[in-house]
């Protein structure tokens, strides 16, 4: 082996008289929230730690870069969140979004441990801020960290580097070498050369596989070609594959993915939060044939926005269009791109590449079904639904008749995948045979499916990552140094 991993700091920690020669106590595969929490915790527990981040330094942090808040249970207001959010309430919220499908002991553990996270994060240098504009509904349940996820990542890297964690960027994990149920080496690639790093324990916290469109195609067929990937292009699931190759047991639905409506003009990868389109409940959504296809006013948008990615994925060429008029423009958080804008519905259709007569007919049909004189209130279920229209718009139905007319082209945007590995309460990865790997731990998105099997609970992915990152870090350090 050559390169920086020969640094003597690693060799000094090799326990004397140990059968297996070792270059480092703990290897962390991944470089986002869960990986950093594991690295910091393992290093604090006395282990030497190497963190392998696949991305270059400027892209470090995986999809944590795009986060902004973490869900925490608490009995009284603290630095991060207001009011009280009892553990049972958080658990009930989790049951609601997953339809009851969760590993209860792991879920309860995560929620219990979440109560200490505000303080622990502050100890690492994380600063809390008021909820961002438009997120007041989360102020009780979620803590917002100053500057968002990349700032969180920067703070954790800073903390990890100060503690002496060795960080390798541009390091792609290829495989895990096994001796029975024990990982002996992590094989990774950096600078075009393969390295085999002998270690005492391994934590895999490398996210999901949503950036590997070919892998998505295995479960989604050609529909996957129409997906935009909202996060890092480096989450291709290589470390997840390495665990499967080593015999790890799968957890979560392979077709499971969180998918929302994003601006079709966004870059294919890494558009983050700024390409999300929240316009749908304010007007109508049509497909490439300029036909409506789903109830835009079914429920409050925060409860429904996450179904629209899959709804659009089912449409021809995975395209849809949000159409609204001057009455509702400016009523929702804008996206990074301005909507198309025209003086008439037909001109708007031209701008969007839709058939003008078809869009004019759809809008006219919708307008005719709107109940006149209904008091439209955008903040609540107002019951202002259409009459005799299929599909209906159950709330906030008002005529699209006031120029200028606006439209956003939409595509499905994948936030994350649910497929991962099964773990126990010590974050040990379980093997297909049912027993557990002695020294392989998992944290973050690649095991979150054990708890959040489906649906979405804002900020809870980070909760799982932070809690299990810390558990994995402690477990890996203890195993490696025992």
């Amino acid at each position: 082996m050559g390169g920086p991993l020969d640094a003597p700091v690693l060799l000094t920690s090799r326990p004397p008289g140990r059968a297996r020669p070792r270059e480092v106590d703990v290897v962390i595969c991944g470089g986002g929230n869960a990986a950093l929490c594991a690295a910091i915790t393992a290093r604090r527990a006395g282990a030497s730690v190497v963190l392998l981040e696949r991305a270059p330094q400027y892209m470090r942090g995986g999809n944590t870069r795009h986060t902004r808040d973490i869900r925490i249970a608490h009995v009284a207001p603290n630095a991060a969140a207001t009011g009280a959010y009892p553990e049972d309430e958080l658990f009930a919220d989790l049951l609601r979004v997953t339809g009851g499908e969760t590993n209860e002991p792991l879920a309860r553990l995560t929620i219990r441990e979440s109560t200490g996270l505000a303080d622990w994060m502050a100890e690492q240098g994380v600063r809390w801020q008021k909820p961002l504009t438009g997120t007041l509904h989360l102020s009780r349940t979620n803590g917002f960290f100053l500057g968002g996820g990349k700032q969180l990542v920067n703070t954790y890297y800073d903390s990890a580097l100060r503690l002496g964690v060795q960080v390798e960027y541009d390091a792609t994990v290829r495989s895990l070498e096994l001796d029975g149920r024990c990982i002996t080496r992590v094989v990774f690639e950096t600078g075009g050369a393969e390295q085999r790093l002998a270690c005492g324990a391994v934590v895999v916290a490398a996210g999901g596989f949503e950036a590997d469109v070919d892998w998505l195609r295995e479960y989604w067929g050609d529909t996957a070609s129409g997906f935009m990937i909202r996060g890092t292009p480096y989450n291709t699931g290589l470390a997840l594959k390495a665990m499967y190759d080593a015999g790890a047991k799968r957890a979560g639905d392979p077709r499971g993915l969180h998918c929302v409506a994003v601006d079709a003009r966004a870059p294919r990868f890494d558009g983050g939060i700024v390409t999300r389109i929240d316009a749908i409940p304010f007007g109508i959504a049509v497909n490439a044939a300029a036909r409506r296809f789903y109830d835009e006013g079914e429920d409050l948008w925060p409860k429904r926005y996450a179904i629209w990615g899959k709804l659009i994925a089912e449409q021809d060429r995975q395209f849809a269009y949000a159409i609204f008029d001057a009455k509702t423009a400016g009523r929702f958080i804008p996206s990074a791109f301005r909507p198309e804008r025209a003086g008439s519905v037909a001109e708007l259709a031209v701008l969007l590449g839709l058939d003008p007569p078809a869009l004019v007919a759809t809008v006219a049909e919708f307008n005719a079904a709107v109940r006149p004189d209904c008091d439209v209130r955008l903040g609540a279920l107002d019951g202002c639904g259409t009459a005799g229209l299929i599909p209906p718009k159950s709330n906030w139905a008002q005529r699209i008749d006031t120029a200028p007319f606006y439209g956003y082209p939409l595509r499905p945007g994948v936030t994350f995948t649910y497929l991962g590995v099964e773990v126990d309460a010590q974050a040990h990865v379980l093997a297909q045979s049912g027993d557990r790997f002695e020294n392989l731990f998992a944290a973050g998105e690649c095991m979150a499916g054990n708890i959040l099997s489906r649906g979405y609970l804002a900020g809870f992915g980070l909760t799982i990552g932070t809690v299990f990152g810390r558990i994995a870090g402690v477990g890996a350090a203890q195993y490696a140094r025992a």
């Binding site: 400027y58 870069r65 795009h66 902004r68 600063r127 801020q129 008021k130 961002l132 504009t133 438009g134 917002f144 100053l146 500057g147 968002g148 996820g149 990349k150 700032q151 920067n154 800073d158 870059p267 890494d270 983050g272 939060i273 700024v274 390409t275 999300r276 400016g330 958080i333 804008p334 996206s335 990074a336 791109f337 301005r338």
Partner: protein, 365 residues
């Protein structure tokens, strides 16, 4: 960057920010930008001066280059501030001094020193430049009081009028014709300015050497309070001389000397510290034209502070005459170039803060 391009570019970048909002805890600029669905050149003039260049938003942004969104708010805002200083410089013909700040500062200081030295030579003879002078009125035996105070007042009044005219124009533009100055807004803005609250980065500090720190705010505070102490020293000396009829030099433990020396030391440390921090900072969120303005102005302040301290230290020696020429020449250079240097930043910033305070309380839009 052309002004129109800059407006279009900030309109593009801020539409990303308005969709994201992760940075709104750092400063008031992001909240103000969110109130605007489209950004025009007057919005740019306002928002750019509301930005205090703490640069935390660059560190926090996942869309900085080489990302396709290429968001770099601090660099674009700095460029826009340079445009502000030029656009509102009065008389307009002198705005070109802003394009070559180092040469302007050097030339002004050199000219100032030559003029003061010539005046000394004409009044008291060349030998006064290296002859010790002791006792009350020592300075005035080298250069008469009126020869000091009349040009100083003339330059100050001229500069103040130019700055006021420029700022009035600026305030009209960013207010879109609607007055926003209220006592409450001014009070809030003064509080924010004096505490440099927006150099706190919401608690994270300023992003300089790879992470947030309080260094910039600390050194900036030293410069600010140092300058204020020196102004107070000058005023107190005027009181001693004109009302109590005590002529300088004043004893070490007098009000003018304590304020002046304290202010000079603070200014010297602050200007040097700021220069060093800026030099070591990540260059990506910086704008070269603003760096040039910063360096020239901080260099001038440093020269004024050090020559003032040297004059105090050696005022009883043969060097007093020469040091007086150098210090007064440097002060003259600072005052003459002030309306066309980084000096003006605080005036525009204060007006932007007043506008922001007024906007937040619904005073105007």
């Amino acid at each position: 960057m052309l002004e129109l391009d800059l407006t279009a570019e900030l309109d593009r970048q801020l539409s990303v920010c308005n969709a994201c909002r992760y940075c709104e805890g750092f400063c008031a600029m992001f909240g103000a930008a969110q109130l605007r669905t489209a950004i025009g050149s007057n919005d740019v003039a306002y928002l750019a001066n509301l930005c205090h260049d703490c640069r935390m938003c660059f560190d926090a942004c996942m869309f900085t280059p080489p990302h396709a969104f290429a968001v770099n708010i601090p660099a674009a805002m700095s460029a826009a501030r340079v445009e502000t200083y030029a656009r509102y410089a009065k008389p307009a013909v002198l705005r070109r001094l802003l394009a070559t700040p180092r040469n302007a500062a050097l030339a002004a200081v050199a000219a100032g020193i030559v003029v003061v030295a010539l005046a000394i030579a004409l009044w008291a003879g060349v030998a006064a430049l290296w002859t010790p002078q002791l006792g009350a009125g020592a300075f005035y035996r080298v250069l008469p009081y009126l020869a000091m105070v009349v040009p100083a007042l003339a330059v100050t009044v001229f500069g103040a009028v130019c700055v006021v005219l420029g700022v009035r124009h600026y305030a009209r533009d960013i207010g879109a014709g609607i007055p926003f100055l209220t006592a409450a807004a001014l009070w809030t803005a003064l509080g924010e300015a004096v505490t440099l609250v927006y150099l706190k980065g919401g608690g994270a500090g300023c992003y300089d050497e790879g992470r947030g720190s309080g260094r910039r705010r600390f050194y900036h505070g030293l410069v600010f309070w140092g300058v204020l102490a020196d102004v107070a020293a000058t005023c107190s000396a005027a009181v001693l001389q004109d009302f109590l009829h005590q002529l300088p030099p004043y004893p070490l433990l007098s009000v003018p000397v304590v304020l002046g020396a304290g202010g000079g030391i603070a200014l010297a440390i602050g200007a040097a510290g700021l220069t060093l921090v800026k030099r070591r900072s990540d260059a990506r969120p910086a704008e070269p034209r603003m760096i040039a303005l910063d360096n020239a102005f901080l260099g001038l302040l440093e020269v004024v502070a050090l020559t003032g301290l040297a004059l105090l230290a050696f005022r009883t020696t043969a060097a007093m005459g020469s040091l007086l020429a150098v210090h007064l020449g440097a002060v003259a250079g600072l005052f003459v170039t002030a309306p066309y240097s980084k000096f003006v930043h605080f005036v525009y910033r204060l007006v932007a803060l007043v506008k922001n305070a007024s906007e937040r309380t619904g005073g105007s839009s």
